[in-house]
């Protein structure tokens, strides 16, 4: 399975951060595939799945933005009723806890990916390799 990396950006609770990031992406022709924003206790974290991950990381760093890269599981699911249940059932069956999750929809009503952060990704990958699951391959997107 491909290593899928997400970009995390630290954000203080004030306007302009998303604008700054998306302006950089727009200038560098980087496409955002999925985004999630969490905020708590006066600060937040923006997570992004993009098509050109390394370039995006470099450009954000260059702009002085506090950014990090981390691996996520990107598991294919049907974009129809029951799709997410099938995937989450398998995770639950193996006791894999979802720390954070968001969704990348490739073809509406047909195919989507569940982007999952887990504590021990290597172990999760090993377990899930034996299941009938399809993982995201960014080269084919």
């Amino acid at each position: 399975m491909d290593k899928i990396m997400q970009i995390s950006v630290f954000s203080e609770n004030k306007p302009g951060k998303i604008e700054k990031i998306t302006r950089i992406f727009s200038e560098k022709a980087i496409n955002i595939l999925a985004i999630s924003i969490t905020s708590t206790n006066g600060f937040g974290i923006i997570k992004l799945l993009v098509d050109k991950c390394d370039l995006a990381y470099q450009e954000l760093q260059k702009a002085g933005i506090t950014v990090s890269l981390s691996e996520v599981l990107a598991i294919e699911m049907k974009d129809s009723p029951g799709g997410m249940y099938e995937v989450s059932h398998i995770l639950s069956k193996h006791g894999i806890n979802i720390e954070n999750a968001y969704v990348y929809v490739v073809e509406s009503r047909t195919r989507a990916y569940l982007l999952v952060e887990v504590k021990d990704i290597e172990k999760a990958k090993e377990i899930l390799a034996h299941e009938q699951l399809t993982f995201l391959n960014l080269k084919s997107c």
Partner: protein, 440 residues
Amino acid sequence: MKSSDSSSKHVFWQHAEETIEQNALNSLQLSCLRETIQRAYQHVPFYRTRCDEAGISPEKTNSLDDLKKLPFTTNDDLRAQYPYGLLAMPKDGAIRVHTSSGTTGKPKAILFSRNDIDNAANLIARCLVMTGTGKHDILQNMMTYGLFTGALVMHYGAEKLGVLVLPVGPGNTDRQISFMRDFGTTVFHITPSYALYLASVLQERGIDIKKELHLKRAYMGAEPYTEETKDKIERLFGIDVYNSYGLTEMNGPGVAFECQQKNGMHLWEDYFLMEIIDPATGEVLEEGMKGELVLTTLRREAMPLIRYRTRDITKIIPGPCSCGRTHRRITRILGRSDDMFVVRGVNIFPQQIERVLMSIPGVAENYQIVLDSYDHLTINVEISKNIFDGTIEHLLDLQAHIIDKVRAEILVKPKVALHEPGTLPISEGKAKRVIDNRTI
């Protein structure tokens, strides 16, 4: 970090004066004190009135203890006597004025004669030699030149010793870096906030400080800072940092300075008489007790100051120092009676908070204390870039950890706001750490 330059450990600028025996020192102090009172009494109406009221005259000064009969000289006195009120010689004997900025009202002006300037330079030469600096060194002076004493007094002292001085002043950081490279700077004189900023710029530019530059040591002063900040700066630059204590009213830098033992600052007792008092009652405290430093000039010609309240909180470190100097040491400044603020009835010094912040990994250099009410305070903290791993839990843990540690130190639970590195204001001079928005 201990200096590796051990060969210079026992080098002195003025061996006899710096290692003077206690009795000889005391009799020297007494005769200098008499002269000081004499000069003040004769030329300064302000001091004549004070002496008369206290029943003191130069002839009646028989012991150093008699000094205690005189009232203190304060900030307000200096402002009230601005500009020439405390001048103890004809105006044509004064060759320099320095001022100390006041946040309100008139500044404080300090006048120097030629001998005063020379004495100030001499003390700096002692300090520099004491830390291992010699003629072969190249000093980049990043303090502000002008009315502020920090840069000029260091400049004169370094020149007296024969050091090559680069009078750059603060700011223009890229030029500072070029000069450091081009001239092979070995020593620099800097404020702690600017040192931290300089280190971050060097990092950003990808310069390997330890390989590409020739820095050996730095002198830091002009702003309060903690031992943790000093350690951090030593690590970042790979140098020895020496604490320097001074104030414009007493020449500026070089009043007290760390030797290579780095265990307190030797205060030059043949030039200044020191007392530690209880800031609330004015009572003189015993050696070793924490209180406000009070200084009397012993050699000042143009403007002698008697029992000047520095507002700086410190204590005397009893006992001899292994460097061989007999002048007693004071600890680093533990706080300023002026900086203290009150939240929920608790007295808090910003240095207490700084000390905690600098001891926590993951906290970057800049911080701010914001006071919006008398019930709570907010601390704005920058996270350091390398701790961010995209996990919200780690940041929440860091936030909680800062709150706990600060609360343990100041006994008030702060609000802590995490900020991105480089977003809090830094100043290339005296950093303003406490923002007090309260109205009484």
